[in-house]
Every structure is written in structure tokens, then in C-alpha cells.
């Protein structure tokens, strides 16, 4: 199996100091430690700085449209459930443009690991507010400051029934790597909201800002929904990290009769075997 470094390909086009570097390295280490061969892993992403990740990790990659990282991941899982499918994109892509897919794939519960790079700002389009920007943040578009309360991704995921809900910070790489491994191994939809600084456009939620606030709360029971919801709601002076909730439920795949046995992608087919379909029309 390759070492972590072998998963790192190409020169990332991110700003120096970007939180994405640590997330990329944590992912490479997680894949290496899980001994997942690159050809058995698929990373689906949308558009944005975070969504460039398929170009920088040795694996299969589907770098699709803005907001649409989840739908192709679901489709790929149907075609070949043997692939380890990871969905990775930013906060704007996932919680804004792709909000509908976020909600409904939690309901579906496919076996996907979803890593959201949440820097609370739009990077690629140069600094507009994202759905998770803190109120008051001024930008070139939100000139009077952000008026709308932020979307709470973990709270939303919990009430929609997500089985694995976690928060990490790019500045806590070991914890991030371990949580990624747990999410990949989780049977069902697993969300990690990964806090990361944007060195170019977010002058409020900086590395130091996060560093001062993050902490690891005691989580005795990962199946305690109310405790998970309480942790998901904590924001401001103290920001909790960790796996808030971890309770599997039946997956999308388990409800599909066609998904047992050989992947649909590789099954043979002969149209002549299907002529019996006509019977019901006689």
C-alpha cells in the first residue's frame, strides 16, 4: 500500500497558508492508513477552492458542477458500491448552491463520507459571504454586513437524521485524520464540517480565531441525540470539535434489490434475455 505522500499529486493552486493544505494531507494520511488503493477510491467535488481536491489526491475523481458534488456520488455508488466514495467541497457549494442535495442525501443515507471545507466565505469568487458567514461580516457584496443568521450544518444534518456528524478544524490535523477514517468506515452518510481559515478573504475567522476557541468536549455517548444537538449549537467563545453523533441506520444501498452481488457497472447483459418483458402487453 502506498505511503501518505504517494497520494499527494500535482501542485495545489491554493494560497500559501490555506487551510486546504492540511485537509489534503489529513485525507492522504487517512487513505494510506486505511490501506485504500487509489483505484478503489472516488472523490466527487463541485466547484470552488476546496472542490479542486480531486486534482491533488491520487484517486478516481469527478470534479463536476458547482453545488452538485453529492448527486454524482450517489449515482457512482449505485453503479459500483465497491468504490469508497468521498464527497468534498466548500461551504458555499455544499450548503448554498447544493443545499437541496445536502438535505435529501442525508435522508437517503448512502454510504458516503462527506467532508465540507468550511471557511465561512466564498474564496474562488473572491470574498463574498457564504451561508455560514458570521453576522456582521462586511464584504464587497454584503457592504452593510451580513444580516442573515448562519446556517447550522451539523444541527441541520442531525435533525435530518444523519448517522455520523462531526466537526473538525484544519489546525488539528491528527484529529481530522482520525475522524476522516471513522467517517469513511461509517456505514452510511457521514458528515464532517471542517473549519478552516481563508487567509485571503476571511479576516475574522482566522487560524488564531479558531485556535483560541476550539476544544474537545466530553462525549460519553455518541448515540445521545440531544447532547449532539447541543454541541452542534455551540458557537462563539467556545467551539466544540469531535464526533457528536454516531449511530448507523439502514443505508440507501441496502434498500435496493439490484445492489446485491456484482456491481451493476461490470455485469454482463444480453438484450435477448429480456424478450419476456413483452408478455404483460399481450
Amino acid at each position: 500500500m502506498p505511503a501518505a505522500d504517494a497520494y499527494l499529486v500535482n501542485e495545489p493552486a491554493w494560497c500559501p497558508g490555506c487551510g486546504n493544505f492540511a485537509i489534503r494531507e489529513a485525507l492522504a494520511a487517512a487513505l494510506a492508513e486505511l490501506e485504500l488503493a487509489p483505484h478503489k477510491v472516488l472523490i466527487c467535488s463541485g466547484i470552488g477552492q476546496a472542490a479542486k481536491i480531486p486534482h491533488y489526491i491520487k484517486a478516481n475523481g469527478f470534479n463536476g458542477l458547482h453545488g452538485r458534488a453529492l448527486p454524482p456520488a450517489l449515482g457512482a455508488k449505485v453503479a459500483n458500491p465497491e468504490l469508497t466514495v468521498i464527497v468534498e467541497s466548500g461551504d458555499g457549494d455544499t450548503y448554498g448552491e447544493g443545499g437541496n442535495h445536502f438535505i435529501h442525501n442525508i435522508r437517503r443515507n448512502p454510504n458516503l463520507a462527506h467532508f465540507v471545507h468550511n471557511n465561512q466565505v466564498y474564496g474562488l469568487t473572491k470574498g463574498q459571504a457564504s451561508p455560514t458567514s458570521d453576522p456582521g461580516m462586511t464584504t464587497g457584496v454584503q457592504v452593510g454586513g451580513v444580516h442573515t443568521p448562519p446556517l447550522n450544518p451539523l444541527g441541520l444534518a442531525l435533525v435530518m437524521g444523519a448517522g455520523f456528524v462531526a466537526r473538525c478544524f484544519s489546525g488539528e490535523k491528527e484529529h481530522l485524520k482520525d475522524t476522516m477514517k471513522a467517517a469513511i468506515n461509517f456505514p452510511g452518510y457521514a458528515l464532517i464540517d471542517i473549519l478552516q481559515p481563508c487567509v485571503s478573504f476571511n479576516k475574522i475567522n482566522t487560524h488564531g480565531w479558531y485556535k483560541k476557541r476550539v476544544y474537545y468536549p466530553e462525549i460519553d455517548d455518541q448515540e445521545n441525540f440531544n447532547r449532539a444537538l447541543e454541541l452542534a449549537g455551540q458557537w462563539g467563545e467556545k467551539i466544540p470539535l469531535g464526533v457528536f453523533y454516531n449511530k448507523p441506520r439502514p443505508t440507501f444501498e441496502s434498500a435496493q434489490p439490484a445492489l446485491t452481488g456484482e456491481p451493476l457497472a461490470f455485469r454482463s447483459h444480453d438484450p435477448r434475455d429480456f424478450s419476456g418483458l413483452q408478455k404483460e402487453f399481450f
Binding site: G61, N63, P71, L264
Partner: protein
């Protein structure tokens, strides 16, 4: 002689039950039928009707006249009595409404009362079927057999329905025993099937493994058909949260190796357009069935139109090759959908099949399909030809890059990207790389063009009068040409199944020798005529357009042709 039956009532009164029982029974006996629906966008109430035409010659369109009117409510009689032929008959329930005193064609049958006696008023329509059988001079036994199959295991339902059927038969017998003569029948059992069922069956037999779609009339029937099969066949059907998800799910499944399909109508396709462009950019096979209905916006949701040809021709930002197919008939559609999947896989690009409400909802009797004529080739990279590292977008002469699936080859990964990319799939911005990749993609258009079937030429081999059309108008245009030829005119039809890239050989040859050409389309602007103009420079002489949401009748087209032919 043809026999035309019209069953009408409010939505929810079960016109379908009557037509399916009669239609299927007649199809088993080899009769040739067409059964079309006219329905409103509501679940209860309003006025819906279905028409069944039985003919010795294959019937291609619903007739303008009616011989037997089954009026499940008074409105049906009021709206349709003027099209009733003079030896015609009206089956109605005298407990629900009365016919005018001077109406001599009534066949009163106490539909509701007899149904209640047989076991429940839900069987009123079965009573009507019994009365219909008597009028047609047919026996009840074949329908009894069919009822037994439909409700297998539910003895009470079967017994009740058979009693209702016989009660209707007996009630009508004092009025009109065998007052209609059935047309000659054909040879052998026939399938009785609607357009959506043909599309779904062909997709499944063509190896489609994934359908993701959002319900939308008139394509929902394809979802229903395939969903019912997904418990027993290697197929997953997923109802997406929106059409954006539907097309992106399908692309993910196709990328990972499953033949994938999405189905919609114009409004849903509007949401899919960015995904269509993605399919072109990442060169991932995809078949999209667009069942057209009148727009703009929600338009007339349950009616028919051919208004989206220009839309699918131009949909999607940027430039990429695509194919657009339609079908002349149910028979043609079965093989055409297979072709759509084959083209999509071979040229790694989106293929749109244009259906419409008229085709989707119309049942016809057809001879059994030949499944051995369906192809299944995936055009995937074989191990012996693998060069490492695998390059998903290898530059080739014909523009088609050897396609591998993720997980197919150990040590090789497959990267697709909606940004402009190099041969490996990585993001690039260089001018030369951009040109190389754009040219590679567009080279596939020539390959697609070579695969397009020439349009179907029906009628006079050297016509003076040429009618042109595409898609679901084939039947009515055939009948138009038959009528014109019968009147001594040298008329022919040139009808397109494969529309884009536009096959032009037969078109140019016929246009050069014909005196006058008419492009007949169920839209307001003449979109095929426009495409022909753009692609060949030829101006079609006359455009005949209908855009009231209803299909053409032959009489309407003939009238238009006669109006223009002299000028």
C-alpha cells in the same frame, strides 16, 4: 369500415379501465387499434376522454368521428354528440341524466345500479364494457378471461366484475344487437402498449441500469414502468429531489459504469441544462428522454406539442457534440432508444430522445418486438490496450478517447473535470491545451453525423408535393399522404427519426425534384423547417403548424395543403 369508440367523463371516472379491457381483448384477437387520451391536469372532475379506433388497416391516428359514445356523464354527450355518426350509439346511464327527446341513438344502461347489484358501484365501467361488447357483436368470454388474469387471487373481485360485465351485455341487448360489424383482423396476437411503456421496455432491454428522474408529465409513465421492474431486474430507479439532481446522479452512475437514463419534460429539462453541458465536457454517456408538452413555463401540462426541438438543439452553454433522436412510431421507438444508448456510449456524449404527450400516452397494437436486433456494446478500453498512466482524454483522430471505468484497472485512476482539462483530466488554462481538447471533442460530431439514419420516405417515389415532419406526427402524415394520393396527387412524406446532426442526403435529393414542400409541425414556429434552413440553406415552401395542445388530424392537414397547394 373503421369503428371509433369514445369514452368520456370526469377525471377519476375510470375511462382507462374501459379502454384497457376492450383494447387488450381486441389486440389478443389480432385487431388493429389505436387508443389515445385527452386529459386535463387535474385528478378529479373536469372533462377527460379516450378514443379507440379499430381498423382493418393499421390505424395511425384517432379519427375525427365517433361511432360509439360511452358517456359517463352528461357533459360527454353534450361535447361530443355532434361528432357521432348517424348509425352511431350512445351508451349512458339513464339514472344519471337523460338524452334529448329527439335523440334516437341512445342505449340506456343502468351502469351504477347494475354495478351495485353485481357487488359495488366501482364496477360501473365493467358494466359499460359489457354493453360495448354487445354493440360490437363480440362475446364476453375473452374479457372474462382477462379479468381473471388482472385480478388473479381476488376471487370476489373477479366474480363481481364478470357479473357486472354480463349485466351490461344483457341490458344493451334489447337495443342494438350486433349493429356494428367489426373490421377484419390481422394475423397473430399483438402487443397493446403505449409510447412510454415502449421507451421503458427498450431502455431496460438495452442494458439501462439506472434511472434518476423527477416526476413530470408526460414522461412519468417511463418512471412508473421501470420502477415496477426494479425489484426483479438489475436496475435502480431513484426519484431525485429535483431535475438538477436527476441529471447529475445519472452522470455519476454513467461515469462509474452503469448505462444511465433520465426522463423529463421541457420544464425539467430547463433545470438539467447545466448538467447537459457537463455531460458534453466530461464526455460521459447519457440518454435523456424529453417528453414534450406545450410551454412556455408550465403551459398545458397534459397536452402535446413539438415545441422543444430548438431548445434541445441549443441547450447547454459552450459547444459540444450531441445527437437528437425521435421516432416515427412505437415500433421505431423501440429500436431508436437502443440506438440512443449505443451512440451515447460510443461517442461519450449526451443523446436526447424527443417524445411528446401524443406519443407517450397513445396505445397502439404492434407486432412483437425483435429483441435480437438490440445491441449492447460498451466501447470500453480493453486490458490489452491499456497504456499507463491511463489518460481519460487521450487525443485521438476521431475525438473518441478510450474509456475506462473507475476501479476497472488496478493502479489506474479515472479523472473527469468540468473545467477545461489536459489528457489526464487535470485543470488547465493554456490556449493550446484548450484548442486541442475543444477540437478533440468536436471531432466526435462527424462520427455522430455518419450514424444518422436518413428520414423515412413514404408515398410517391418522385413526388410533386412533399410533406416533411418528425416524431409523433408520422402516423397522421402517412394517412394524409394516403388521402392525397387517393385523390390522384403525387404526394410523399419525408419523416425524420434521427434529427441532429441533420441527415441531408435524401432531403436534398427530394427537395430538388419536388414542386412544393410543406413542413408540418405541432408547434408555432416551424422548428424543423428552421433547422433545415440553417443546415442546408433550403427554405421549405410552406409551414403547417398546430399549437393548441392537440394532435393533428389528417383532415386538418389536408385542408391546409389544399389551401396552399394552388398558390
Amino acid at each position: 369500415m373503421d369503428i371509433n369508440i369514445l369514452v368520456g367523463g370526469a377525471a377519476g371516472q375510470g375511462m382507462d379501465t374501459v379502454m384497457n379491457l376492450i383494447g387488450k381483448t381486441l389486440a389478443r384477437d389480432g385487431f388493429k387499434l389505436i387508443y389515445s387520451k385527452d386529459y386535463m391536469s387535474r385528478v378529479r372532475g373536469g372533462h377527460n376522454f379516450s378514443q379507440l379506433r379499430i381498423s382493418a388497416k393499421t390505424p395511425w391516428s384517432a379519427a375525427a368521428g365517433t361511432d360509439i359514445l360511452v358517456a359517463l356523464n352528461e357533459e360527454t354527450y353534450t361535447l361530443h354528440q355532434d361528432r357521432l355518426s348517424s348509425p352511431g350509439r350512445v351508451i349512458y346511464d339513464p339514472d344519471q341524466f337523460s338524452l334529448p327527446e329527439n335523440e334516437t341513438r341512445g342505449v340506456p344502461v343502468a351502469l351504477k345500479e347494475l354495478a351495485v347489484e353485481a357487488g359495488g358501484k366501482v364496477m360501473s365501467n365493467t358494466v359499460a364494457v359489457g354493453a360495448l361488447l354487445l354493440l360490437l357483436g363480440l362475446k364476453t368470454e375473452p374479457v372474462e378471461k382477462l379479468l381473471g388474469e388482472m385480478f388473479a387471487g381476488k376471487e370476489k373481485v373477479i366474480t363481481g366484475n364478470i357479473a357486472a360485465l354480463k349485466a351490461g351485455y344483457d341490458a344493451a341487448s334489447s337495443f342494438c344487437r350486433s349493429c356494428f360489424t367489426m373490421p377484419d383482423r390481422g394475423e397473430g396476437e399483438k402487443l397493446f402498449i403505449d409510447g412510454n411503456q415502449v421507451l421503458g421496455m427498450s431502455a431496460l432491454a438495452s442494458g439501462c441500469r439506472f434511472l434518476s428522474a423527477y416526476p413530470m408529465t408526460p414522461s412519468t409513465g417511463i418512471m412508473n414502468y421501470l420502477a415496477a421492474k426494479s425489484t426483479d431486474y438489475p436496475l435502480v430507479v431513484e426519484q431525485a429531489e429535483d431535475e438538477i439532481a436527476a441529471i447529475n446522479m445519472a452522470l455519476g452512475a454513467s461515469y462509474a459504469g452503469a448505462r444511465a437514463l433520465t426522463v423529463t419534460s421541457g420544464g425539467g429539462f430547463s433545470l438539467m441544462v447545466e448538467g447537459l453541458s457537463l455531460a458534453g465536457m466530461i464526455e460521459t454517456p447519457l440518454v435523456i428522454i424529453v417528453g414534450m408538452r406545450p410551454g412556455p413555463a408550465t403551459g398545458l401540462p397534459t397536452r402535446t406539442e413539438q415545441g422543444d426541438l430548438d431548445f434541445v438543439l441549443h441547450a447547454g452553454h459552450g459547444e459540444f457534440p450531441r445527437a437528437i433522436l425521435s421516432a416515427t412510431s412505437h415500433e421505431d421507438a423501440f429500436y431508436r432508444i437502443n440506438k440512443a444508448f449505443e451512440l451515447a456510449d460510443r461517442f461519450q456524449t449526451p443523446v436526447v430522445f424527443l417524445s411528446d404527450q401524443n406519443f407517450a400516452d397513445t396505445h397502439r397494437t404492434v407486432d412483437p418486438f425483435d429483441f435480437s436486433r438490440l445491441d449492447f456494446n460498451r466501447y470500453l478500453l480493453q486490458e490489452g490496450n491499456l497504456e499507463s498512466p491511463y489518460m481519460r482524454y487521450r487525443i485521438t483522430d476521431d475525438g473518441v478517447s478510450p474509456r475506462a471505468l473507475p476501479g476497472q484497472f488496478a493502479g489506474e485512476t479515472v479523472l473527469v473535470d468540468s473545467d477545461e482539462h489536459d489528457q489526464l483530466g487535470n485543470i488547465v488554462e493554456g490556449a493550446e491545451e484548450r484548442l486541442n481538447m475543444a477540437d478533440k471533442r468536436m471531432r466526435k460530431a462527424a462520427g455522430l453525423a455518419a450514424e444518422m439514419d436518413e428520414p423515412d420516405h413514404y408515398g410517391d417515389p418522385h413526388p410533386e408535393m412533399l410533406l416533411l415532419g418528425w416524431g409523433s406526427t408520422y402516423g397522421v402524415l402517412r394517412e394524409t399522404v394516403d388521402a392525397l394520393s387517393g385523390a390522384g396527387l403525387k404526394a410523399a412524406l419525408l419523416h425524420f427519426s434521427d434529427i441532429y446532426p441533420l441527415p441531408r442526403k435524401r432531403l436534398l435529393s427530394l427537395l430538388s425534384e419536388t414542386r412544393i414542400s410543406f413542413c408540418v409541425e405541432n408547434n408555432a414556429t416551424g422548428q424543423l423547417a428552421g433547422l433545415i434552413r440553417r443546415e442546408t440553406g433550403h427554405q421549405i415552401d410552406r409551414r403547417i403548424n398546430k399549437y393548441d395542445g392537440r394532435p393533428f388530424t389528417a383532415a386538418e392537414i389536408i385542408k391546409e395543403v389544399e389551401n396552399h397547394a394552388g398558390s
